[in-house]
């Protein structure tokens, strides 16, 4: 298995020497075309994007504007038709499936619209799962990390329940804990509040904001709910596969 820590350090080292260290996320002329249907769909067109560490970013745009596609590419779940993607200075286009999985486990946390907790695992085990993927973390440390995260999202008392016994808002809080338990540099959330009522939605966003401040995580989420966007520091508006507006805001 490739040791990413060493590669990371080497890359950072030479980057500093050459003076051209990239941002945490660096997208260069991204094109994405879906060629599956009768006519090809251009889902993303010449996207250039730099996202720095420790920022709270939101993508907004109408349905079909390409938010999901863009997040999938940033999250190394999908590859662009053209262009380059650097995450943490690594050209993720070069990674094969297995390497990509290891890279995601280390670097990226995911929160999904449908919560996507594993139904056969308890709340506790769901949060523990990503730590098992990293391997070689002693039980005691795993336990303290999981309990700390569950505490943060206020789910400690529900830790032994299975996902089908808790509410949607609670599920998403568990999902946030799961995304953050490995202390990733990036957390991606594609419409994390779409299946939640307003109160739960706001709660989730503010939990995420709070935690990203605390852990220094870069948080990127997509939504088409303008009310939710309020918390974002940087707001990108997508339309028809292109970024049409970038809005820098002050952290709340």
């Amino acid at each position: 298995m490739i040791n990413y820590d060493i590669i990371q350090k080497l890359v950072t080292f030479f980057g500093i020497i050459e003076g051209k260290l990239m941002s945490l996320i660096h997208l260069e002329n991204i094109e994405k075309v879906y060629d599956t249907g009768e006519i090809p769909v251009q889902a993303l067109r010449s996207i250039n994007l730099e996202i720095q560490t420790k920022t709270f970013v939101s993508f907004i745009g109408p349905s079909g504007s390409g938010k999901t596609t863009l997040l999938n590419i940033i999250g190394c779940l999908d590859k662009p038709t053209d262009g380059k993607v650097f995450v943490n200075n690594i050209d993720v286009g070069m990674l094969n499936r297995a390497e990509s999985a290891v890279f995601r486990a280390k670097t990226i946390g995911f929160v999904f619209q449908n919560f996507n907790l594993i139904p056969v695992l308890t709340v506790y085990e769901n949060v523990e799962y990503p730590l098992l993927m990293l391997g070689r973390i002693p039980l005691k440390e795993r336990r303290s990390r999981v309990l700390r995260l569950l505490e943060k999202v206020g789910m400690t008392d529900q830790k032994d329940k299975y996902p089908n016994k808790i509410s949607g808002g609670q599920k998403q809080r568990v999902a946030v804990a799961r995304a953050l338990v490995t202390n990733p540099q990036i957390v991606l959330a594609d419409e994390p509040t779409a299946n939640l009522d307003h109160t739960s939605a706001f709660k989730i966003i503010s939990i995420m904001h709070e935690m990203t401040n605390e852990f220094g995580t870069t948080f990127i989420f997509s939504t088409h709910d303008p009310k939710i966007v309020g918390e974002a520091e940087i707001l990108y508006t997508l339309e028809d596969g292109a970024i049409v507006n970038t809005e820098q805001r002050k952290a709340v």
Binding site: L77, D78, V102, L132
Partner: protein, 412 residues
């Protein structure tokens, strides 16, 4: 991730759809029970039959003069072993530790007469003690008083097969005359007393009469025993092939005058044992098909139902190899549990059958089945089922591991 975690997840997934899992396991377990019970019955039937064939008349192996078996139907009297040739064979057999005993026989055809009627009879002239040690079940066929198993026949006595007793209206104690032609073509006769009746059995020499070797020699005017056949009994039946090969090597030498055959080559009934083996194989094949189809089916459904879950675990960093293992373990676990259950039920059924032994008659053979299945056989059944489980689960598991996380996640 440790194996333990994978196993926990796999097992919990199995219990997610209890009814389906139970149904599939029952089907596989049923197949295992079928193989165990049928195998147990068939193996026991086979060994009983082999036992009857080899222990009542044939012995495990037979030695003749070269060319005898080819013309066995004529019972030729010029193809015999005697003098130094016979002594050499006996020396060889005595020197083989696997050989428990052997019995030299003169086999020939004669006329039997009660002074009023005459009929044909096939005869074995034997040394009673050697014959009894070589085919120990022979005396069980004798109806009538015998002083001791090693002396079931004395000079001057004859054991007449059942059908001839009826045909010639004979009874024990009657005197009969045997008339035979010797190898030079001259005819001779002896008078013998019927000591007992031989029950008929199937197989070669199943309807033979028995006389003492001395009377055989007298009747055929032999100065010294001219032996037609030597039946050999082994210490352990499962050594048959080894001993056979060893004897074949001896007989293949150009100066050798003997030929060797196993009971299987001599008995027309040996094909039944081959049919039994074939049936066991067919039943095993059915089991393999059951396991293959049911595991393939349940795992394909399982993967199909959980596509978005597979997408989730892949997205959050589960490598493809782990996803493959996860599903392989799931299929294997069903195979393992069902096999275990099936073996327990199967052996239980066999034990129940053992309590009430199954008795029946098969072609004049009284068979009393004490079904049991060798541990090795059970082990192999288990290995086969588990291997097939893994094999059947591989395709669905591989498909799961090859899914692209985006596609799988998008699938709701």
């Amino acid at each position: 991730m440790k194996m333990r975690n994978l196993i926990i997840i796999a097992f919990r997934n199995l219990f997610r759809n209890k009814r389906r899992t139970i149904l599939t396991s029952s089907l596989i377990a049923f197949g295992v029970v079928l193989v165990v019970v049928f195998g147990g019955l068939a193996i026991s039937f086979k060994s009983q039959m082999i036992g009857i064939l080899t222990n009542t008349a044939m012995g495990d192996l037979q030695i003749h003069r070269k060319g005898y078996v080819e013309s066995i139907d004529n019972q030729p009297l010029h193809l015999t072993l005697s003098g130094t040739e016979l002594a050499d064979v006996e020396k060889m057999l005595n020197g083989m530790p696997e050989v428990a005993s052997y019995s030299p026989r003169i086999k020939f055809g004669a006329m039997i007469s009660n002074y009023a009627q005459t009929s044909n009879i096939r005869l074995s002239a034997v040394y009673p003690e050697m014959e009894n040690r070589t085919v120990s079940e022979l005396i069980k066929r004798i109806k009538g008083q015998i002083t001791s198993p090693d002396e079931f026949l004395k000079p001057g006595e004859i054991l007449v097969p059942e059908n001839l007793m009826k045909g010639l209206s004979l009874k024990i104690g009657d005197e009969i005359v045997l008339v035979a032609t010797n190898k030079d073509g001259s005819v001779n006769a002896v008078t013998l007393r019927i000591a007992a009746v031989m029950e008929n059995v199937f197989g070669p020499s199943g309807k033979d009469g028995y006389i003492h070797i001395q009377d055989g020699q007298t009747l055929l005017r032999m100065d010294q025993p001219e032996i037609v056949e030597i039946a050999v009994h082994l210490q352990k039946f499962d050594r048959l092939n080894g001993v056979f090969e060893q004897l074949m090597k001896e007989s293949d030498q150009p100066e050798s005058s003997i030929e060797v055959h196993t009971w299987e080559q001599l008995s027309p009934f040996s094909s039944i044992t081959r049919i039994v083996d074939l049936l066991i194989l067919v039943v095993k094949f059915i089991l393999i098909s059951i396991v293959l189809v049911s595991i393939l089916n349940i795992m394909t459904m399982s993967v199909y139902e959980r596509i978005s879950e597979i997408g989730t675990i892949a997205a959050i960093g589960t490598p493809p190899s782990r996803i493959l293992s996860l599903f392989l373990i799931e299929g294997f676990a069903i195979g393992l549990l069902s096999t275990f259950g099936g073996i327990v039920i199967g052996i239980g059924t066999l034990s129940l059958m053992n309590l009430t032994r199954i008795d029946f008659t098969f072609g004049q053979m009284d068979i009393s089945l004490a079904p049991g299945i060798p541990a090795g056989e059970v082990f192999w059944i288990a290995v086969i089922v588990m291997f097939v489980s893994l094999f059947a689960g591989f395709h669905p598991a591989y498909k799961a591991s090859k899914m692209e996380p985006v596609d799988a996640l998008g699938h709701v």
